[in-house]
């Protein structure tokens, strides 16, 4: 019941935006709400189900974004012929180094000279890798650097990348989990913080792979383009039928003009609705899976581990194995959301991955929504994104009101109005602290069946 009320209120808020601001704003917000909800679901799997504290959400979301590029962009043939073979050799050397180092570590463990041998293998591998890496990068990045300068992708439909993004994030999570799980919860937090910074640094600097801060724009879309819609007869008919009331009173050139305006307006809305439909499908699928998983014996086991690790271990549950599983699953969901976000933006911009927006904001969503409750994570994603977007105009309005007594050119007033947008970060912290203190369960607290 509470969930129903919460969703009705959320729908009312979006409807208010639709009427007061504009339908475009409302639909744009809805799309990002849906993506945020998917991301929050991923974090909820880790934190809500199992109590794993992941502060590297930004990194996993960025991996999803890069998947969108690597899957959907057309391959750059010249770059492949210029440096493809060398980059292949680099990859071989890199993997070979890791294998050889691990092998040396296992073989010589506990013997004298263990450290020296492992270091020697690693250094030789490093030199070999660098030998191929340098020329390969130079060759690839010099291929028409203004437009490409990278290897491009596979040229597949971009929706494939939603799955690939999930796989990328899952792989990275598996690696981190091997190291950091099973230690103190704080250590997992710091390790994930580090890995996310490194992932973003790699994406920013490895131009041959992602174009770095030069960004990849014009990612193909899973939905039609506005321009194509505006020219299609089918869409024109639909608009005529849909807006018949508005058009009946007009005729001739005036009618044509009004129709053209409507077509332009509706084509934008239609595209946004298509995205919203796709994202909603993904959200519903993942949400259903989450609900089923949480109510299954597996879900009960995970919660039992969360509530008392020692007791669960004594009952023969594989705590570390389950934690790794949960960590990989949750990160995969975040990766899917990351790929969806890049799809919606139509571009991949490594510079925009900021921890406040991509890590800590998602955390606020989960805590405010209600950790451990899947619907809670969804409503948290919706509500906090709404607040995050609307806090900006609200803050500006408030500052304007408060300073209305000052002169137009008062430096303090100008400064405050300029910086009003930053107050939303403050508001988020405040919301987090207030919810943690006064309603620790969040909007929709976790349901515990007493049977």
């Amino acid at each position: 019941m509470r969930a129903f009320i919460a969703f009705v209120i959320m729908a009312a808020l979006l409807a208010a935006v639709w009427h007061i601001q504009s339908p475009t704003v409302a639909l744009g917000m809805l799309n990002l709400c849906l993506i945020s909800a998917v991301m929050a679901l991923g974090v909820n799997i880790q934190w809500g189900y199992a109590g794993l504290f992941n502060v590297g959400i930004m990194g996993f979301a960025a991996l999803g974004g890069v998947a969108a590029v690597l899957v959907s962009k057309a391959p750059v043939a010249e770059a492949w012929s210029a440096g493809g073979s060398q980059i292949g050799l680099t990859a071989l050397c890199f993997l070979g180094t890791i294998t050889a180092t691990t092998f040396a570590h296992r073989k010589t463990k506990g013997r004298r000279g263990h450290f020296l041998i492992v270091m020697l293998v690693a250094v030789i591998g490093y030199i070999a890798t660098r030998h191929f890496y340098g020329p390969a990068v130079d060759a690839i990045e010099s291929v028409d650097p203004g437009k490409t300068g990278y290897l491009g992708g596979l040229g597949l439909p971009i929706m494939v990348s939603w799955i690939v993004g999930g796989l990328f994030a899952a792989g990275a999570a598996w690696l981190v989990g091997q190291i950091a799980l099973g230690l103190r919860a704080d250590y997992l937090a710091i390790a994930t913080l580090g890995i996310s910074e490194i992932i973003v640094a790699v994406l920013k600097n490895e131009d041959w792979l992602t174009r770095g801060v030069k960004n990849v724009t014009g990612l193909p879309r899973p939905v039609p383009y506005e321009v194509d819609l505006q020219q299609s007869a089918w869409f024109r008919e639909k608009v005529e039928a849909f807006a018949a009331e508005k058009l009946t009173s007009l005729s001739g050139a005036a009618r044509e003009e009004a129709l053209a305006g409507l077509i332009t307006e509706y084509s934008g809305l239609f595209v946004k609705l298509c995205y919203a439909g796709l994202f909603a499908i993904v959200l519903i699928v993942i949400l259903t899976l989450c609900v089923l998983a949480l109510n299954s014996p597996w879900g009960r086991m995970i919660r039992a581990i969360r509530d008392n690790e020692i007791a669960a271990e004594a009952m023969g549950k594989d705590v570390k194995g389950r934690h790794l599983q949960i960590f990989v699953l949750g990160s995969a969901v975040v990766g899917i959301a990351g790929a969806m976000l890049a799809t919606l933006d139509g571009q991949f911009t490594p510079g925009t991955y900021q921890p406040l927006r991509f890590t800590f904001l998602i955390w606020v969503m989960v805590v405010v929504g209600g950790s451990g409750n899947n619907l809670g994570a969804v409503i948290g994603g919706f509500f906090i994104w709404f607040l995050w977007v609307e806090a900006e105009p609200a803050g500006t309005w408030l500052i304007n009101l408060l300073t209305s007594g000052m002169a137009e050119t008062n430096w303090l007033r100008l400064h405050l109005i300029d910086n009003a947008q930053h107050m939303r970060v403050f508001v988020m912290g405040l919301v987090l602290l207030l919810v943690m203190r006064f309603t620790p369960g969040g909007i929709l607290p976790e349901r515990v069946k007493a049977r």
């Binding site: 950091a180 230690l183 390790a191 640094a201 800590f360 930053h422 988020m428 912290g429 203190r437």
Partner: protein
């Protein structure tokens, strides 16, 4: 003789001095983290923003003093403004403790709850800082920039390579040494310091012996705030002030604290220098050193840079991971995992 002195001076100029200075800054930051961890038993994610907060106040005061025409001659004016920065940071942290953390201590919450609360505080501080001073870069160093210019050094010694030493660098090292001596004297010799160590070692026993936990916590926050503000100002004088950079310092500082052993002040200092020197040494391009040391035909084409500076976070991270795998308690046997 000179063929050996030249590369040595070169290394001193680009590796030793920057490493020492950066290490001192990290050590001061990590000390704050490790003290809070030892007494309050949680990782304080707001520490980077605490540093930024103290620095921001100091910068604002510096601007005020400069507008009054006050200066310290060769030393940066920021030193005069620093006490106010420290004072306000202490007030801020004590307020957050009173309003946020104390409640969770009373209900005996898990460490992870404290950590999340610290994220909330990090958000609020970050918002305030961006609101007041903006997210951009600020440079507030004045006075004499150099104590010794590279050119003067060359003239003095007749070498080809120069060694430049900036005022802010000397200031950092001197202040750090003085602070560390004061801190250890406080922890080892005074009654309050002993109470803090006792509380950190065994909370129950300390309470039974009549140590007032609230007082210990308060003093911890005061010291942490002071260290954070000073570390932040020194870092800002040496490089520049940018709120986001201060947030990013969290990773090397945590790495330093963990490498040394969480909760161990001496560990934080050693850890700070380990992280700083690894970062500087692995990201320095050794091409010029190679030119002095290697024979003509061995000269490499590349920069001889092991890792691009963009990846300096990876170094802290790798060191952190190795320590977590090999010796999770850190070098000086910090708190149990």
């Amino acid at each position: 003789m000179t063929e050996w002195l030249n590369p040595l001076v070169l290394m001193a100029n680009f590796v030793l001095v920057p490493g020492l200075v950066y290490g001192a800054q990290l050590a001061l930051g990590a000390l704050g983290i490790t003290l809070v961890f030892g007494i309050l038993r949680f990782s304080n994610f707001a520490h980077g923003d605490t540093m930024a907060f103290g620095t921001m106040i100091t910068i604002l005061m510096t601007w005020l003093l400069q507008s009054w025409g006050v200066s310290l001659g060769p030393l940066p004016t920021a030193l005069l403004a620093l006490p106010i920065g420290i004072f306000l940071t202490i007030l801020f942290l004590l307020a957050t403790d009173r309003l946020v953390y104390r409640h969770y201590r009373d209900v005996r919450a898990k460490p992870i709850t404290f950590l999340m609360a610290s994220i909330g505080i990090m958000f609020m501080m970050n918002g305030l800082i961006r609101f007041i001073i903006g997210p951009g870069e600020q440079i507030f160093l004045d006075g004499d920039r150099f104590l010794m210019k590279a050119r003067e050094f060359k003239k003095l010694t007749g070498l080809d390579e120069g060694l430049g030493i900036r005022t802010s660098q000397v200031l950092t090292v001197v202040v750090a040494v003085v602070l560390v001596i004061l801190l250890f004297w406080f922890l080892q010799r005074t009654k309050t310091g002993k109470a803090m160590r006792a509380y950190s070692d065994n909370e129950t026993l300390a309470r039974l012996s009549g140590i007032d936990p609230e007082r210990v916590v308060k003093i911890t926050w005061i010291i942490a705030a002071g260290l954070a503000a000073i570390a932040g100002v020194l870092y800002g004088l040496d490089k520049s002030f940018k709120p986001f950079t201060y947030f990013q310092l969290l990773l090397p500082m945590f790495a330093a604290a963990i490498v040394g052993g969480l909760g161990k002040p001496i560990g934080a200092i050693v850890g700070g220098f380990i992280i700083a020197f690894s970062e500087v040494m692995l990201t320095y391009a050794y091409k010029k050193v190679g030119r002095y040391l290697l024979p003509e035909e061995w000269q490499p084409d590349g920069l001889l840079q092991l890792l691009s500076t963009d990846y300096k976070f990876a170094i802290s991270f790798v060191i952190l991971v190795v320590v977590l795998l090999v010796r999770p308690t850190g070098i000086f046997k910090g708190k149990v995992v």
